[in-house]
């Protein structure tokens, strides 16, 4: 290799080196941080809600007029839905996981100790919830039909049981979440709930919620004329059942409107729309930048080769093989790129620190920078192959030409 002479020659032509090295450094900074943001978002999006998302949909019914009796309608609707072929089960719920809207509260181990409350999403559901949401009970028992409380929003709550997500149980009993079973936990108003069961996983409705894995189920149906049904189907039945359920609910003789008939997959898409938008934009940015940088490398390489055609001919005359010439320009690019990625590594970490501080994003994993460095070295080599090959094709006879 000719690292020494190549480097010394490059140092006589600092501007070209600086231009390419800076481009590579900026490109690396953007690409590595963009990939990291994409991965961060993808990891968020990949967190399972705990439900059988592919085979679940939900639909809301809002009654109006004096003749609407929600308590009767709910039973009628749920009976109808549960008997449809292809339906595994259905429940009524006040909130849909991943949807972005719901309600939360705090619960703790001692009454009146509001400082110890652990935040959790509250799902008000009936006894079919475990089947309908496809939750695995890892301790305790399901709700029974007798435990379901029906009340209007202004009636006092009488619920006394709850089922926790395992993460919620772990928040309350960090040493052994199983201890939560059969314990009483207390809400902000001091009311007690007895933990009758624990399910393996159930996300809160808000993807950005700090305590996104903390959820509680309570056996109650709120009679405020607005009801949301969550339906789980056999694989392959979802889409036709969405149509059928809406039709049947619409033809039932009740004064109501039906809204938000959505598959849970659609709900998830909507909830994470900004994340996937961001991901797409970043992918476009990465592609564009790699293209522009590669073009820049090609452009400057072609220029510097054209400027040195006679030198190349002379080198060929002095005994350089085509491969030596190819290797010369590949090595030259490698040296410039190495300077670029070294600066790039510093800038990458710096920009990441900015992201961490300004946007509370997690720190970049250690392996991102080295992988980014390798990727850009490779990009540089690939970009310079073309110009280097054309340099290698220069005839040695050029050395004796007088122009």
């Amino acid at each position: 290799m000719e690292l020494g002479p190549i480097t010394r020659a490059l140092l006589r032509n600092k501007l070209g080196v600086i231009l390419i090295a800076l481009q590579i450094a900026f490109t690396m900074t953007v690409i590595v941080n963009a990939v990291y943001i994409i991965n961060d978002r993808a990891a968020n999006m990949a967190r399972p809600s705990g439900l059988d998302e592919a085979n679940t949909f939900h639909i809301s019914s809002i009654g109006y007029g004096n003749s609407f009796n929600e308590s009767v309608v709910v039973d009628e609707d749920l009976n109808m839905i549960r008997q449809l072929p292809g339906v595994i089960d259905a429940t009524v719920t006040n909130a849909i996981p991943v949807s972005g809207s719901g309600s939360s509260s705090g619960y703790g181990l001692e009454p009146g100790r509001r400082d110890t409350l652990v935040p959790a999403a509250i799902y008000r559901v009936d006894e079919h919830v475990l089947e309908a949401m496809d939750l695995d009970l890892v301790a305790g028992v399901p709700f029974t039909a007798q435990q379901i409380v029906r009340r209007t929003p202004t009636e006092e709550r009488q619920v006394t049981e709850t089922i926790l997500s395992q993460a919620m149980a772990e928040s309350l009993y960090p040493d052994d979440w199983r201890q939560a079973l059969n314990q009483n936990i207390y809400g902000p108003d001091g009311s007690a709930l007895r933990v009758v069961g624990i399910v393996d996983r159930l996300q809160a409705p808000w993807p950005t919620f700090t305590y996104v894995e903390n959820s509680m189920l309570t056996p109650e149906i709120t009679l405020d004329n607005s009801t949301t049904y969550l339906v789980r189907t056999e694989p392959g039945y979802r889409d036709e059942l969405m149509v059928e359920v809406e039709e049947r609910l619409a033809t039932a003789p009740h004064q109501r409107i039906l809204r938000n008939n959505q598959s849970l997959e659609y709900t998830r898409t909507e909830s994470y729309r900004i994340d996937s938008l961001m991901t797409t934009i970043l992918k476009v940015v990465i592609g564009t930048l790699m293209f522009i940088t590669a073009m820049g490398i090609v452009g400057l390489a072609v220029f510097s080769i054209n400027r040195r055609r006679k030198q190349i001919g002379t080198r060929r005359a002095l005994g350089a093989t085509r491969f030596s010439i190819l290797r010369y320009f590949m090595t030259e690019n490698l040296i410039i790129s190495a300077a670029g990625v070294t600066l790039g590594a510093i800038m990458t970490v710096g920009f990441n620190m900015f992201l961490v501080q300004t946007f509370n994003m997690p720190r970049i994993d250690w392996f991102y920078a080295p992988i980014g460095m390798l990727a850009l070295l490779l990009l540089g080599q690939l970009a310079v192959i073309g110009p280097a090959r054309s340099a290698a094709a220069i005839t040695p006879a050029l050395a004796t030409r007088s122009v």
Partner: protein
Amino acid sequence: MFMYYVRLAALSYRRNPILSSLMVLAVAVGVGAYMVVFTLNYVLGGDPIPHKSDQLYHIQFDYGDPDVADFEPPPQLAYRDAITMLEQSSDFRRAATSKFVAILEPPGNDLRPFFVNGRGSSADFFAMFDVPFQYGNGWDRAADDGQRQVVVLSQELNERLFGGADSVGETINMDGHVFTVIGVLDYWEPTPKFYDVNNGPIDTGEEAYIPWSLIAGQQLRRSGNTNCWAAPENSSFEAFLNAECAWVQFWVELPDSQSFDRYQTMVDNYVAEQRDFGRMQFPVEKRLYDVNEWMVYNEVQPDETRILSALAAMLLAVCLLNTVGLLLSKFLGKSGEIGVRQALGAGKGSLFIQHTIEAGFIGALGGVLGLGVAAIGLEGIKILLGPEAPTQWITINVTVIATTILLAIASTIIAGLYPIWRACNINPAIHLKTQ
């Protein structure tokens, strides 16, 4: 002479089309991407009501939960405070406002009942926020006090219900209550929705507006973010209204510094009084925020666009570094021509102008192409934002067009400074000899 140099620039482009196109492309991509982000930020970080944004103030009270260490005071008011502020601010334009939802039963039998998102607001709301009316007007404070069942429709809802005709005087039925239409809005979709930032700053506006007092009167169902830091005494609606639950936006218009000072004193006194009752124990930095301060305080500008701004700036930097290199190649590649021009009497000044115009020419082409890049980018973002988000605000306006072209020309010339300098200082002798 200018046109001569432009022609030279065009000729130079044609002589070296690949290198020149590469430069135009780099400038276009860099500037185009920057303008996409600029447009997003221009709207989301811009002033939604420039002529009076410094006169409209939202109140932030010293709410807090003694048991929660890092409790952030919610950016809304509790009902009881909103009521008191309405009373105590009656010298000024002021509005308490919050959202509601209702089932609307359209007049006649042609349309099925449907769900509407509405807003309850005090009478001054329309005047304070310069809400444009197509027909009729808003209501007056007497209607607030009297809980009159009047409604102002959005342009879209009026279109849906009455085919866009002047519907003032018609009635509509929401949740079983009859409301008289007294006004219809013109198109009004401020982005960000600055008057209610805590229910999503990029959100479609409400379809129906009614006196806010009707919400507390429980005529219609309240909606929107609600944040409680003490449990209501019981489940009744009265207990909820009295509880430490924030769900009301409250705006006041203070036209001059005198009224601002007066109002500030009033608010401070109120907080001091409430503190004696054991409420509002957690001092906030500031209690009156004007529109722009409020948007910054509530972080209306999404993290995403701020991150993208930084990335777009770096993308632009790469594209310009690229342009520096390519311009350098191009200018030094025609050293011979420059040498001949110098020999024929071209001074450094005229070489400078010639090459500046050549750089500007490439920048201008890049700018025009960059507009296309920006348009495609924004269109893509609209598609990706999906059907449920309002996207009318994502448009290329005159500001964006002008900024794009100017940015492209200016940045290309700046990128060209060093190459131009080199071109002007080429030694004619060397290059004439080797010709």
